[in-house]
């Protein structure tokens, strides 16, 4: 906070300045009233500390002048003990409060704190945003109760951002607010202090909160567990929706980001190898060099993918590794922290690096066989696929991350009968429950009853053909689909679909995702969704064409269709509705809004169906 002190007593002014500086306030001193007026007009002050008896223009006159000019900046008067008339005149002239000389410094600070929160409704003077706290009374900064040590300038910067969340400050605005006239630095040094602040925040786990607003300046942008949620949903891409080229570019860029996840993780792998060596205290110069090169490459490329924070972190890592031949313990800690931050920020999915994201949604617990291959072939024919696990442990692991439409388990081949039955019971009791088809060599009533009691939905006796199993599978999926809410999503971006899944499935809604609309009709028939979400822009067939085709088919006329679009232009919106859509949402999607819209659509549809039944009866 920047304070203008107008005081002609140099000794007192000096004492006050020291005390205020110690509390991290920035202080300019004017020695007379006119000078005070000049200072005030050219600087950005949040408080004026004003002596009454001043040469050229006295304190009360200056206060009147300020108020007459429309300034509302808080004014704290300093008056002599026996001058009650002065105090009354001062308050009448527009001062906010007064202090009696000789000053009690503690009282002075308390009054400043009180005045600085004027107009802001806060229960106390502590500034806090998502666990990042700044306490002006003790000058302490902490994140999640862990103290962060800042230099006075870094403290001032953070205070400015916390007092004005989401406001963008240019470098010169920052200069005006937290530097005095005497030590006005170059704009470059704002950059240096921002960098220092970022680094210290990062060390405490506050990563990427101070955002570069390209071409404008900086602002506070708290990143709340953004790393865990796919980028597209967590952080809206700063696209200007009216600029369709940019929107189109960003869409392609996200697709590219997915495409090059493997390349990104190759680069991260080198950093992780270096981390492992550092932890074992044996980082070789060669590995350090390779890690620096990997960081260099990441720094060069992440910013192009709209991930500026990533570039910044990678650059810091590179510098750390290049500037220090041997890393001291403190630097080692920094290195470990930064690599971890970078990893969290990029949120590369370790599974997806080995193979494309798995949306197969059918689980086969059985050893590899000719039948399993044929089943895969049959599923692929309708755009589905099987995840096969040859033992229960693998299946259990896979099930922790995935929600299949159906599970087929070969009881005899899986040599763990009681665990298998427990798994069946667990899957059957899930919400939504997962249908389980059991394959068994035992054809007796006893076995059928036992398996059914544990919760299986189907029982087939061996020997079997793949065709027979597949017919039962599709039948069970169809039956199950009518019992739960099903949503079918057609979007060519698998990352987006994965994000939706995270959002929607906890609500007991089953999601089927389709990247390539070629098998759309088969999937539509087999899943019978309660709601369809379509992306407008897809490479082969666009969403509007699909929508039109659906509305042309009498059996699907009542299916609620929700569109996702990156552009808000009226032309697209009109086309969407003309094709028969019920609603549309603009990307990036806000989770709550999407859920509300889905619920509205589903509720409305159920109502219409009930009314329809009443009418026909």
């Amino acid at each position: 906070m920047r304070i203008l002190l107008v005081e002609d007593d140099r000794i007192l002014a000096d004492i006050l300045r020291k005390s205020l500086n110690a509390h991290n306030y920035i202080v300019d001193i004017a020695e007379d009233g006119l000078l005070g007026w000049n200072y005030f007009q050219s600087g950005e002050y949040e408080l004026v500390l004003l002596d009454v008896g001043l040469p050229s223009l006295n304190g009360i006159g200056l206060c009147q002048k300020l108020r007459a000019a429309g300034y509302t900046t808080p004014v704290l008067l300093m008056t002599a003990q026996d001058a009650s008339q002065e105090r009354i005149r001062g308050l009448d002239a527009g001062a906010d409060d007064y202090l009696v000389k000789p000053l009690d410094l503690d009282e002075l600070h308390a009054r400043i704190r009180a005045l600085s929160r004027r107009g802001i409704v806060v229960p106390n003077t502590v500034l806090e945003i998502h666990g990042l706290k700044l306490d002006p009374s003790s000058c302490q900064v902490s994140y999640l109760e862990r103290a962060i040590e800042l230099t006075p300038k870094e403290y001032n910067l953070l205070e400015l951002f916390l007092r004005n969340p989401s406001r963008v400050f240019s470098r010169s605005q920052i200069l005006d607010r937290i530097w005095t006239f005497d030590d006005s630095p170059l704009e470059e040094s704002v950059k240096a202090h921002i960098k220092g602040l970022r680094k210290k925040l990062k060390g405490a786990g506050v990563v990427g909160w101070i955002e570069n607003v390209y071409g404008i300046g900086y602002r506070l942008s708290p990143q709340v567990s953004a790393a865990k949620i796919p980028q597209q949903i967590a952080q809206p891409i700063p696209a200007n929706p009216s600029n369709s080229l940019k929107a189109e570019f960003n869409r392609k860029l996200e697709a590219m980001w997915l495409q090059y996840q493997g390349l990104m993780s190759e680069r991260m792998k080198v950093l992780h190898a270096a981390v492992a060596s550092v932890e074992r205290k044996q980082l070789s110069p060669q590995l350090q060099e390779s890690a620096a090169n990997a960081a260099h490459k990441l720094a060069g490329v992440l910013g192009m993918f709209n991930r500026e924070t990533g570039t910044q972190l990678a650059r810091d890592i590179e510098n750390l590794l290049r500037e220090n031949e041997v890393l001291f313990p403190v630097q080692q800690d920094l290195f470990l922290n930064w690599v971890k931050d970078l990893k969290d920020l990029l949120a590369l999915d370790p599974e997806s690096q080995i193979e494309p994201p798995d949306f197969s949604r059918l689980l086969l617990i059985a050893p590899q066989s000719k039948i399993s291959e044929e089943l895969q072939y049959l599923a692929k024919g309708v755009g589905m696929s099987w995840q096969r696990c040859d033992n229960l442990d693998r299946a259990t692991n896979w099930l922790q991350e995935n929600l299949p439409h159906l599970v087929v388990i070969d009881l005899d081949a899986i040599n763990a009968r009681s665990s298998s039955l427990n798994l069946i019971a667990e899957l059957a009791s899930r919400t939504p429950s997962i249908p389980i088809l059991v394959l068994s060599a035992l054809d007796c009533l006893q076995e059928r009853i036992e398996v059914a009691r544990w919760g299986a939905s189907g029982f087939l006796v061996k020997p079997l053909t793949a065709r027979k199993i597949w017919d039962n599978v599709t039948n069970l999926i169809r039956i199950n689909a009518t019992a739960t809410t099903n949503i079918l999503v057609v979007d060519d971006n698998p990352m987006f679909s994965a994000g939706l899944r995270l959002l929607i499935e906890p609500w007991g809604i089953r999601l089927t995702t389709l990247e390539n609309p070629v098998h759309f009709w088969e999937i539509l028939r087999s899943t019978r969704p309660d709601l369809l979400i379509l992306d407008v822009n897809m490479p082969e067939i666009n969403g509007i064409e699909i929508c039109r085709a659906i509305r042309n088919d009498s059996s699907w006329q009542a299916l609620p269709i929700l569109f996702l679009t990156v552009s808000k232009d009226t032309d697209t919106i009109q086309k969407v509705f003309a094709a028969g859509a019920d609603d549309y949402l603009t990307k990036p999607i806000i989770g709550e809004e999407l859920l509300t819209r889905i619920n509205n659509r589903l509720k409305r549809n159920r109502l219409l169906q009930t009314l329809g039944r009443k009418n026909s009866s």
């Binding site: 570019f249 590219m256 060069g300 192009m304 650059r315």
Partner: protein
């Protein structure tokens, strides 16, 4: 006629993003090469209007590629812009010794790449 640009960079994603930016924002024809050697061949055969050259490449690095491009008569007159990350200050110090028209710092905004190239070329003249 559209400008034809050759991008020489060993990193596939950098190449593809830069290509996308140039194609979408300026409708330029973009050729790409994943190594210095490949770049030399393409530059000789296709005679691009401009070359964007990555500095840090394995095998034939940016500097060596630059020298070869400049020493071959077929490619000696093609303007070359270096692409580097910020920390490579060593190059900046020797900028005047290098036969390039300028430097573009990575990461760049892909859609603004044509403008950046324009700035670099104008400064040269």
């Amino acid at each position: 006629m559209n400008k034809c640009v050759l991008i020489i960079d060993d990193e596939e994603d950098v190449r593809e993003i830069a290509k996308m930016g140039l194609e979408m924002a300026a409708n330029w024809t973009v050729l790409t090469a994943s190594s210095g050697t490949e770049g030399l061949n393409i530059a000789r055969d296709k005679q691009p209007d401009l070359i964007l050259l990555d500095w840090m490449m394995p095998v034939l690095n940016g500097k060596q590629t630059l020298e070869k491009l400049k020493s071959a008569t077929e490619t000696a007159n093609i303007p070359i812009i270096l692409m580097t990350a910020k920390t490579e200050t060593a190059i900046k110090e020797h900028l005047q010794d290098l036969a390039i028209v300028g430097i573009i710092t990575k990461p760049f905004r892909p859609l603004q790449l044509p403008d950046r190239i324009g700035e670099v070329l104008n400064n040269q003249i």
